[in-house]
């Protein structure tokens, strides 16, 4: 899976905007949106919010969790816990990136939020690497990781799988007696 695909999925998330135009309900395959009243918050998917924002047709109301204090709390918790803590949104990284890139003027303390989310991300990725490392070094057959987001899984998936594959090959070559022979049988 490409990160851009994950981002695409994230664009389905709902965000509040304050439109500066007036429009009746619009009927889309994914559901009805609107009505849009100028000055009145309305829930729309991120892709529409960004589109409207780029055309200067709305202001984006940042999601509730996109707040310095809340993120600091999450960061502290993330650092304290050894396991993964629940994140405020399954697409927190993507949403942060999208919203901050396109609507940073509507988000108070955008820079701090960017840093905080990056911190959280880094902490989690470090944990992920660590658990992958222990998974491999202890030669476990399976492992369970809770509260991972799609993007996080995605960053490690290809590499981890390839690595495991390689290691399997190497191992099977190391022990020609048992597994090596078997593989030859299969061939």
């Amino acid at each position: 899976m490409d990160p851009s695909e994950v981002e695409f999925l994230a664009e389905k998330e709902v965000v509040k905007i304050i439109p500066n135009f007036s429009l009746d309900k619009i009927y889309l395959i994914g559901g009805d949106l609107g009505p849009f009243n100028p000055g009145l918050p309305v829930d729309v998917p991120v892709w529409l919010a960004l589109n409207l924002k780029q055309r200067q047709k709305c202001r984006i109301v940042p999601p509730e969790w996109m707040d310095v204090e809340k993120l600091e709390e999450i960061r502290e918790l993330e650092r304290k816990e050894d396991t993964f803590t629940p994140v405020p949104s399954p697409y927190y990284m993507e949403l942060t990136k999208l919203l901050l890139n396109h609507a940073s003027d509507n988000i108070p303390k955008a820079d701090e939020i960017r840093t905080l989310v990056k911190d959280i991300w880094d902490t989690r990725i470090a944990k992920l690497r660590l658990s992958a490392d222990s998974f491999i070094s202890q030669q476990e057959a399976h492992a369970k990781l809770d509260n991972l987001t799609l993007m996080e899984i995605n960053t490690t998936r290809s590499f981890l799988l390839d690595t495991l594959n390689c290691m399997y090959k190497l191992r099977s070559n190391l022990q020609p007696g048992s597994s090596g022979g078997k593989s030859q049988d299969h061939q």
């Binding site: 304050i18 500066n20 135009f21 007036s22 009243n37 100028p38 000055g39 009145l40 202001r59 108070p108």
Partner: protein, 1136 residues
């Protein structure tokens, strides 16, 4: 409080300070951590004399022209006073002295030091010193017994000790304080004080209280405390007379107690809340000087008047313990001080002339202050009672009777009656207070006007919610505008007048098509704009001259009129102007506001004539305006939203309480707009405040309305609330249509549908609860068509009495509707609106409905033609059927032979539904019928049930219900009527179908058929009969013979039963027979249909018939298409 706290002034650099007065009280002397001693002639002395005594000065004492200071060079030095020349070193310690003090005569100095020692040194001979050892930590403070026998000291080791000076021994010691290792770490400086003169008491500040210890017995005899004192007391000082004790705390609280009564007579807080570390009484007792740890010096003045205000206490203590105070007065060396106090006590009673005599005794400043303070205090009260109080006082003093403490109460003149409320100031609804630097000058449904008034900038930002209106604007606010309003056309700003400049009204008319988009008007001198608003094409400004000036939006001056009182706020919408003003003085927190609602435009008139505005108790107005639909609305400070109920004699109905939605007690909702359709209260949640800040930009939230009806937790209450809310919030349709605006017909019919549905639900509920009377009450609110439905419901649930009453009601309603039509033209539009809510169906609405429905049906028909499929079931919804239900009456009128001419055109140009839609209505209803038949037909086609059975149920219904509808019989069986009744049937059937989907509402018995069918049947039967009817005619006698005691209905039931038992063939035969009777007509019409367009009702029905027959060849449905029983049977089938 009579005591006056003077503003603090800078004395020394930051750090510990100390203060004292000189013997005469002429100078204040302070020392501080900058090492200087400053001599102030008064607090206002801008050039105090400074004497440097060292790097830091810790403490000072002054008596007999000798100034003793404890400096950081571990010495206690002497300087002459007031010259400030060094006069030698009194004593030394191994570390710095922390506190020094004179004895009462000034012959000795005691000094406590950080080296745990207390030294007592003779002034005249510094070699004669006594050292008191025993403390195990630095000394905090020392104090002499005025009789020179003892000395008390407090130390960081937590103990307060009393020493016998001569023997240098510790007499007693109390572990009262918290231990610490150094003075700077000690929680409190614990400046002890021994009561002067009497020397009976030793005051020790312990935590937040002052403990009093008795001399000799060394027992604690009392505690002085103050409820407000939450922080440790740092320093205490006795008044020179020894009756009062002042204390200064860490938190900056200064308290004065009357020691005898242990009452707090004076309480002041440090203006910045800094720690008080030095405290000294003026020798006259009328002043306290204090210093804080920030190096500032302050003075409390007029203190003797505080004692005078408690003179009763003073005098009573004097009588209670005359002996103890007598000697006090006698032997004391500074009598004037004492006089000062008693003078203070007596002065209010005395003639000012008397006072001149003892001027020499009392420092003039203190005296003058006493008096003025006292008078100032009393001036605020009622003069009459003051005089009375004074008289009493004089009497009491004159007769030398000591006032008992209880007299204090009558002394203070008290007005017990209701207190007038300060009138609320004029404001702009949707603005935040003017004193804020960054504020919203206006937030309404159009946009936001923000005002900035800080150091860099004085500007106004205008921003529109809808950028299509206009782009954002930034103006420099050089005129200092304070009020603003914003509309789709213009921005209106106004500033108050100044000495030079008149108050100005500025309008940015951005929607103007010429190039001049701005105009400005100067108001007459002395007249200020207090409130303003914008309407459609006009602007209004209410001024301080109780005037309301109207301007056209282009800047032309229009009408002006006087307001009955000072304006509170005004609001405009379209052609309406709402003014709220002060009607009078409110009492006990209430505001007395009046409201006027004016209507401009074609019909200029006053709709509300200055009636009182009903605010919540003890609240003020916080928002005033119109809903987006133009209904006046206001919100008070208790958060209650009230809406004008035009249908209830222009009363105000509470529709919401924003406080109910608040989580915290101090949270508020700041309202920015009210909408009736959809029902929204747009507001900004403010956490912990009343007003939102401009940054971060607040987000609008939407609150629902909720009428404060009783028992809204119950189903009944909920439905009642919903119903009345719906009625109230859809009043505006009536108003809008009456004032010639276009209305959203769909929304309106939607609302009516909702209301009728609610009524039906409530009806069903009250039926379930066996509340038949209430059911009839509910039915009275229903439209005629829904009543028929209710009748059916009632009859089906076996409530015949109820059904009977309802049918009477239905008849009444039908008559009423017919009777109303001719009157309609004469009626005033407004009355018309009012009538609306009564049963929520006015003719105009009906007209609108009909137009709408006909339009819609026409469309549907087309689809029908093309597809002829069942999908139309979906569209045959309740609303539709209701609308159809409405039609017959209107159409009947148009088509009625009795009223052959269409209604005359209304002169007001308002839409006359009857006229406009007479043609349309016909086609509409025809279409409706067509459609309904269609739907049923398609159902038919999908079913294989014998229609004979179904039609039989229809006729059963007819026979069954005939008695109820009998009153209709005498009326001429005109086409009108037949249509009318005929139309009910599909409606009812449809409604029924809808109800089937709502199982909660109705459970109908299969065999019972809709009642309204019957009259139609009557008509129809003349032309043809169904198979069952024919069969029934033949077999009735047999059935009656079999069961002679059967009622009419039972006969039919029986007949149905028997008919069913017949073989399919037999039934078919009967049906064929029935068809044969009417077949010719039908055939003829069928042909006609082929040629004609779909205008003709019969033709249409025929078309359906054709389709239907195609769909189901075997069906017996070949009879007259107009037959209601078809629909009814379909309905019955649907039930199956």
């Amino acid at each position: 409080m009579p005591c006056e706290r003077k503003p603090m002034r800078y004395g020394h650099s930051e750090g510990h300070t100390d203060v004292c007065f000189d013997d005469t009280g002429k100078y204040i002397v302070t020392c501080g951590s900058d090492g200087d001693v400053r001599i102030w002639e008064s607090l206002d002395d801008d050039d105090p004399k400074s004497i440097n005594v060292g790097e830091k000065a810790y403490s000072l004492a002054l008596k007999n022209g000798k100034l003793v200071t404890a400096a950081s060079n571990n010495t206690v030095q002497i300087h002459t006073f007031p010259e400030g020349d060094p006069d030698g070193i009194l004593t030394r310690f191994t570390t710095n002295a922390t506190h020094i003090t004179y004895n009462s005569s000034g012959s000795r100095v005691a000094a406590g030091s950080s080296d745990f020692m207390v030294k007592v040194v003779e002034m005249y001979d510094s070699s004669q010193q006594k050292t008191l050892r025993g403390h195990t930590a630095p000394i905090l403070s020392v104090t002499f017994d005025p009789k020179d026998e003892f000395l008390a000291s407090a130390s960081c080791d937590g103990s307060v000790a009393v020493w016998k000076i001569e023997e240098q021994t510790q007499v007693t010691s109390w572990p009262l304080l918290q231990k610490s290792n150094d003075v700077i770490n000690a929680k409190s400086l614990c400046r002890l004080a021994w009561q002067p003169k009497a020397a009976k008491l030793l005051a020790v500040p312990v935590e937040t209280t002052v403990q009093l210890y008795q001399r000799d017995s060394w027992a604690q005899v009392g505690t002085l405390s103050d409820d407000l004192g939450t922080q440790a007391i740092n320093v205490v000082a006795w008044s020179p007379c020894g009756k009062f004790l002042a204390a200064g705390s860490i938190g900056g609280l200064l308290t004065v107690w009357d020691v005898e009564s242990k009452l707090c007579v004076e309480r002041q807080t440090h203006e910045k809340g800094y720690t008080v570390c030095g405290l000294a009484w003026h020798p006259s007792g009328g002043q306290i000087a204090y210093t804080d740890t920030e190096g500032c010096l302050g003075v409390l003045d007029g203190l003797s008047s505080s004692s005078s205000s408690s003179s009763t206490t003073t005098s009573s203590t004097m009588t209670k313990a005359p002996a103890s105070y007598d000697d006090l007065f006698d032997d004391d060396d500074d009598r004037p001080l004492d006089e000062g106090i008693s003078e203070g006590a007596r002065s209010p009673a005395k003639n000012p002339g008397d006072e001149d005599d003892d001027d020499d005794l009392i420092p003039a400043t203190g005296r003058a202050r006493n008096r003025s303070a006292f008078l100032d205090d009393e001036n605020s009260l009622d003069t009459g009672s003051l005089k009375q109080g004074l008289d009493k006082f004089v009497d009491d003093v004159g007769s030398a009777i000591v006032l008992p403490a209880a007299v204090a109460a009558p002394l203070r003149p008290v007005y017990d009656g209701p207190m007038p409320t300060p009138p609320q100031k004029a404001f702009q609804p949707g603005s935040t207070p003017a004193h804020l630097m960054h504020r919203f000058m206006m937030w309404n449904s159009v946009g936001i006007v923000r005002g900035y008034n800080d150091d860099q900038d004085n500007a106004i930002d205008v921003e529109f919610h809808d950028t299509a209106v206009h782009h954002a604007m930034h103006l420099t606010n050089s005129l200092g505008h304070t009020v603003a309003d914003l509309s789709q056309e213009a921005v209106l700003l106004a500033c108050p007048g100044t000495d030079e400049l008149a108050s100005k009204l500025q309008c940015l008319h951005f929607s103007s098509w010429d190039t001049n988009k701005e105009w400005m008007v100067d108001l007459p001198k002395g007249e200020d704009v207090q409130a303003l608003c914008l309407g459609q094409g006009w602007a209004a400004a209410a001024t301080s001259a109780l005037m309301l000036r109207l301007f056209s939006i282009g800047g032309m001056q229009r009408e002006l009129f006087s307001l009955p009182g000072p304006v509170v706020c005004i609001a405009g919408h379209g052609e309406q102007l709402l003014v709220v003003y002060h009607r009078g003085t409110g009492f006990d927190g209430e505001q007395a506001l009046g409201v006027q609602l004016l209507q401009f435009g074609q019909k200029r008139r006053q709709v509300i004539h200055g009636e009182p505005l009903p605010l919540s108790r003890k609240s003020h107005l916080s928002w005033l305006g119109f809903t987006a639909e133009g209904t006046p609305c206001f919100i008070d400070s208790e958060g209650v939203v009230r809406l004008l109920n035009r249908s209830l004699g222009n009363m105000w109905t509470p529709v919401c309480n924003t406080r109910d939605n608040c989580k915290g007690k101090s949270d508020h909702y700041w309202v920015v707009g009210v909408h009736e359709n959809p029902q929204q209260l747009r507001c900004i949640p403010c956490k912990g405040s009343r007003y939102p800040p401009t940054l971060p930009r607040p987000a609008v939230a939407v609150l629902p309305f909720k009428l404060p009806l009783c028992q809204t937790t119950t189903e009944k209450g909920q439905m009642e609330e919903q119903y009345w809310r719906s009625v109230l919030l859809h009043n505006h349709y009536g108003f809008l249509s009456s004032s010639g605006y276009e209305i959203d017909e769909e929304g309106q019919s939607q609302a009516q549908k909702e209301q009728q549905e609610l009524l039906m639900k409530m009806f069903a509920l009250s039926c379930k609860l066996e509340r038949e009377f209430r059911s009839v009450e509910l039915a009275e609110l229903m439209t005629q068509n829904v009543v028929t439905l209710a009748i059916r419901y009632a009859s089906r649930s076996g409530r015949m009495a109820l059904a009977q009453r309802l049918s009477d009601l239905a008849l009444e309603k039908a008559n009423q509707l017919q009777g109303e039509e001719p009157q309609e033209e004469e009626e005033e539009p407004l009355q018309y609106t009012r009538r609306n809510t009564g049963y929520s169906q006015s003719s105009s609405e009906m007209g609108a409905d009909r137009q709408h429905s006909s339009h819609r049906q026409a469309q549907e028909e087309e689809v029908d033609e093309e597809q002829g499929q069942e999908e139309h079931m979906d569209e045959g919804d309740v609303a539709e059927s209701k609308r159809q239900g409405l039609n017959p009456f209107a159409k009947g009128t148009a088509a009625s032979p009795e009223k052959p001419s269409p209604k005359p055109v209304s002169k007001e140009g308002r839409v006359n539904p009857f006229k406009v839609s007479s043609g349309l209505g016909r086609s509409g209803s025809a279409g409706g019928q067509n459609r309904v038949t269609n739907v049923l037909d398609s159902m038919m086609s999908s079913s294989k049930k014998p229609t004979a059975l179904l039609s039989s149920s229809g006729s059963t219904g007819k026979l069954n219900k005939t008695p109820f509808l009998k009153p209709l019989a005498p009326r001429p069986k005109t086409k009108t009527q037949s249509t009318l009744l005929h139309m009910n049937a599909p409606k009812a059937a449809n409604k029924k179908a809808a109800e089937e989907r709502e199982p909660a509402v109705c459970r109908l018995k299969q065999t019972e058929a809709p009642p309204p069918a019957s009259p139609a049947e009557d008509v129809e039967n003349k032309k043809h009969k169904s198979g069952f009817q024919l069969w029934l005619e033949d077999n009735r006698r047999i059935i009656l013979a079999d069961n002679p005691d059967l009622e009419e209905t039972d006969v039919i039931k029986e007949a149905i039963g028997r008919f069913r038992t017949l073989s399919a063939d037999d039934r078919l035969t009967w049906t064929e027979r029935a068809k044969g009777q009417s077949g010719d007509v039908a055939d003829m019409k069928k042909r006609k249909r082929g040629e004609e367009s779909r205008g003709d009702k019969n033709g249409q029905s025929e078309a359906d018939e054709t389709r239907q027959s195609e769909a189901d060849e075997t069906s017996a449905k070949k009879k007259k298409p107009l037959d209601t029983s078809t629909k009814l049977s379909a309905f019955a089938f649907n039930k199956n």
